[in-house]
């Protein structure tokens, strides 16, 4: 398994190995750890070579690659041996079982790491499975990887959240299906009902705003927020219209890809947006969801920078309030099991517990907790 180190990785491949070595002394204290240098770079060896599992990480100075390697033998693969040497060798059955063992062992080694850059390949593979049982949850919003860009306008943020909530809303509605280029669901619902679902008063201003949202969806404007190409295709809406019914009720007709409804999204959030939020709460929650919906396990928040770039002038009282919102919502994610207990205070480079986080910590890194069970 090879992973190309990207320029966006916060630490170099050598620093990654060194950091792993230090942290594994605590995290995997019962395992043999050995760091060596060869002609190509560094090697970190984890576990006893004679045991059934042995893991190595290699750096390569020439191409700045990291290679993750697992050696499996004995009882661990004894059961698969028959698959291998039989004349009716089934490639898929054998390889999927060995791949499972590779990812299971990799996850066991890296999931609690506090410096988890360079293991995006592992997180990306495992992350969606934690939400398999939550596919039908109505009070949850599913999200995909988001472009970590600056959303200049509040409107852009609101449209994206409205889209995520729309996908959650339609789940409980009846629909018809039709095959266009692939299978689609056609939903019809009243605009007023969707406004109610969003806790908004159905006045002229809100109706107009929502109509604008559906126009935006039609032009696939919001979809650019997602960084995953395949997902962008899935979430592209081929048809949407807002029209008056015979009873003079504003209705929405929208076509959504069938595949979206059993798609394993990498992220799932409890629907905090169903409550009435003030604009600062919304801005903070959006920032947290955007940052959390990134490929890295390490999520960095520069709250001082966030305040500096805030779209409106803030009084000191508002600044304090915004910092408190950050602390509050980050603690909420941790209580939901989405974050590890530890926080890295980037200004002092000290590790602290999330519970001890307060508004004086303005530059922090938190670490995603992926909850899965390898059977």
């Amino acid at each position: 398994m090879e992973e190309i180190s990207k320029s966006t990785d916060p630490i170099s491949t050598i620093d990654f190995i060194n950091s792993c070595y230090i942290q594994f002394q605590e995290l995997h204290s019962s395992k043999n750890l050995l760091s060596e240098r060869n002609q190509k770079g560094l090697i970190l060896k984890i576990g006893n070579r004679r045991s059934s599992k042995h893991y190595r990480i290699y750096t390569n100075q020439k191409n700045n690659l990291l290679r993750f390697e697992a050696e499996m033998k004995g009882d661990l693969i004894k059961d698969f041996q028959d698959l291998l040497i039989t004349s009716s060798f089934e490639e898929y059955e054998f390889e999927s079982k060995i791949a499972y063992q590779f990812f299971k062992y990799s996850f066991e080694i890296f999931s609690s790491l506090n410096q988890p850059s360079h293991i995006d390949w592992l997180a990306t593979k495992i992350r969606p499975y934690q939400h398999r049982s939550a596919l039908s949850l109505e009070l949850a919003i599913h999200s995909h990887y988001l472009n970590q860009m600056d959303y200049k306008l509040l409107k852009e943020k609101q449209h994206l959240i409205t889209l995520l909530r729309l996908l959650a809303y339609v789940k409980k509605l009846k629909y018809t299906t039709k095959r266009l280029t692939s299978e689609f669901r056609r939903y019809r619902f009243s605009l007023r009902d969707f406004l109610n679902y969003n806790n908004l008063t159905p006045n002229y201003y809100q109706v107009k705003k929502l109509k604008t949202f559906f126009d935006m969806v039609k032009n696939n404007f919001v979809i650019e927020s997602f960084s995953d190409k395949h997902y962008r295709m899935l979430v592209t809406v081929p048809e949407v219209s807002v029209y008056k019914s015979e009873q003079n009720i504003l209705m929405v007709e929208i076509w959504l890809a069938e595949e979206l409804f059993d798609y394993l999204h990498p992220f799932l959030f409890s629907d905090v947006f169903q409550q009435k939020l003030n604009k600062h709460q919304f801005q903070v929650l959006f920032e947290i969801i955007k940052t959390y919906s990134s490929i890295h396990l390490r999520k960095e928040f520069n709250i001082a920078q966030f305040l500096e770039n805030y779209p409106s002038v803030l009084s000191n009282q508002h600044k304090r309030q915004i910092q408190e919102y950050f602390t509050h919502y980050i603690k909420m994610l941790q209580q939901e099991g989405k974050l590890q207990d530890k926080v890295l205070d980037l200004s002092s480079n000290k590790v602290l517990q999330i519970i001890d986080l307060n508004s004086s910590h303005s530059q922090i890194a938190v670490f995603e907790n992926i909850k899965v069970k390898f059977l």
Binding site: L84, S96, A99, Y100, K373
Partner: protein, 122 residues
Amino acid sequence: MNQITHHDFGLFETELLSVDFISFNIKRITPQQITRLASYFQNLGFNSYQKQLDSNQSRQDINNNNSFYNQFEVYFIMKIPYQKEIIQLQFPGVSGKQFYKLIKQRAIQWKKFPNPLIQFRL
């Protein structure tokens, strides 16, 4: 539940995994049988070498048939710690990839190997 099984994984290629090393232990065989196995590997494109211990740097050709044209190698490790009745065959790097390719093509005659016990490195 958030449970993961092997059904959630696909072929090595899909999972961006590749075989880097294959080895397997076999029951100790006579020098004549070793020479015959080396000839078999020769025909599969592998030159055969012998090492007394895995950690040894030096290697010896098993027979004089090793071909300059063969790109791949197999090592017969004659002494395995604590396992007197065993010898080990090792296919490192690209040789491991090639040997696995032959397994997938069902081109390996397993009956030639007494009691094989395989190890995999990905």
